[in-house]
Symmetry: C2
Subunit: 242 residues, 2 copies
DNA sequence: TCAAAAGTGTTCGATCTACACCCATGC
DNA sequence: GCATGGGTGTAGATCGAACACTTTTGA
């Protein structure tokens, strides 16, 4: 990677990709292609000519294959001497062969080992609609349950927490932007999503009322499942009118 | 200014300092030492060894003399090709003498004219407790009424709006950190502050109840003003117990 | 005793919470 | 019919807005 002025120095972007399926909230965690517990958030750098939101989208696509997804910024982190030097040295020490095979130029190593300030982005997707792609620099890429995350490098684990806090804040107004339910869904499916994200349960009847009162749903046809009970309506998100 | 690796490249900090006094909300706006409407937020760059919050504090002190103030981050801005080149060229064109007197080294000019990504911080202070200092690079430094801001460079005016939005969000929990009222204050003074920040009026009795319910105030002795009416209590913020 | 401002209480309505009641569906 | 789950309604609590009442102060 020739990083000489192609990217902005000492500034990185980290993406927290929340994935939802069947009452489970997961986080997309690639594992760096080295032996050892080197799990890291998908991240990258900002091109000189590129807006930061666009950069976040590109990075997400490069590292995971996920395209055209709305990401939301949740903060900038540059307090601690957040630097990669220790990490790089650990990688070199524990994975001598692989590391030297990378043939990192000295200036690339130096570039990477600088102090970095990181801009955090998160998004929420439907695991079933998104297939993460494994790229060169990763050994694996997995959906990890949010309650059972592996050891992650640097402050990445804390970042997940902060991203989750940001997502919970006013989730109603963000769901539209994300890509997390089918086009049409039942109220129950929506409720399960909320319950999973907030990690608490809601009363069925009150949840329904609250959602309808938000005036963001269009009621569609009923969904007949073949089960011996009343068929639920399907809903879709209203198109934004502004 | 020798910027060669002393500061982090292409990353800047802008500070919005809200000043409050007597039902007026103002913003501290230095004017660059050039002829023309070059008003700018106090800003600066991040030292290599310095956390970003610390950097914001240092910048604020360097540019305004205001010390030991809690600043809060309100966002990162790097969408537009935010760059200073046009600004620098305009300065050079309209202020040839002054500009050349600066004797900017070529590399400094280049450094400054790069694209910059900016981290925004804001704070709120009591105008009467804070005396802004004029520094070399500014012609003047003034408290400008928030409703009557001068033309500001780049997107700085928009930044003020965003900072204000952030400040209004959950002001209750932030007031403690800022340095904006006397140690002891009356409920009326507190109410005026709120009314000024939110630019709307509140019912006296309801405001009182709400504030007391927040459980962040300690009631102190009464304040006898000599006026022919009931003496108000003084209040102080509770010390944080966590 | 009075005016002015501060402190407290009361009413009304909206909203949230818990629960109950009705509906549709397939067996 | 009946069990199952979905949709809606309702009583009680809670919260905030508007307003009224009481208390304190110095003239």
């Amino acid at each position: 990677m020739n990083t000489n002025k192609k990217y902005i120095d000492q500034l990185s972007i980290d993406c927290v990709v929340f994935g939802y399926t069947h009452n489970q909230l997961k986080v997309l965690v690639p594992k760096l292609d080295f032996e050892g517990d080197f799990w890291a958030l998908p991240g990258g750098f900002i091109l000189q000519e590129e807006g930061i939101d666009k950069a976040a989208q590109r990075i997400l696509e490069d590292r995971t294959g996920i395209k055209d997804i709305f990401l939301e910024q949740y903060g900038v982190f540059g307090e601690v001497p957040r630097n990669n030097l220790d990490l790089l040295n650990t990688l070199r020490a524990t994975n001598e062969d692989k590391f030297s095979a990378l043939k990192l130029k000295d200036y690339t190593f130096e570039w990477l080992s600088q102090r970095f300030i990181s801009i955090g982005y998160y998004t929420l997707v439907d695991i079933n609609k998104v297939v993460p792609k494994l790229t060169d620099i990763d050994q694996s890429i997995d959906w990890c349950d949010i309650k059972n995350l592996p050891n992650m490098i640097l402050d990445h684990r804390k970042q997940v927490g902060k991203a989750l806090d940001a997502m919970c804040l006013n989730l109603d107004s963000k769901l539209l932007g994300f890509n997390v339910l089918s086009e049409k869904f039942t109220m129950k499916e929506l409720q399960h999503l909320y319950e999973t994200v907030y990690d608490k349960s809601f009363r069925r009847s009150n949840f329904q009322k609250k959602m309808l009162d938000l005036d963001i749903l269009d009621r569609q046809e009923k969904k007949f499942t073949g089960a011996a009970n009343k068929a639920p309506y399907l809903y879709s998100f209203k198109q934004k009118t502004n």
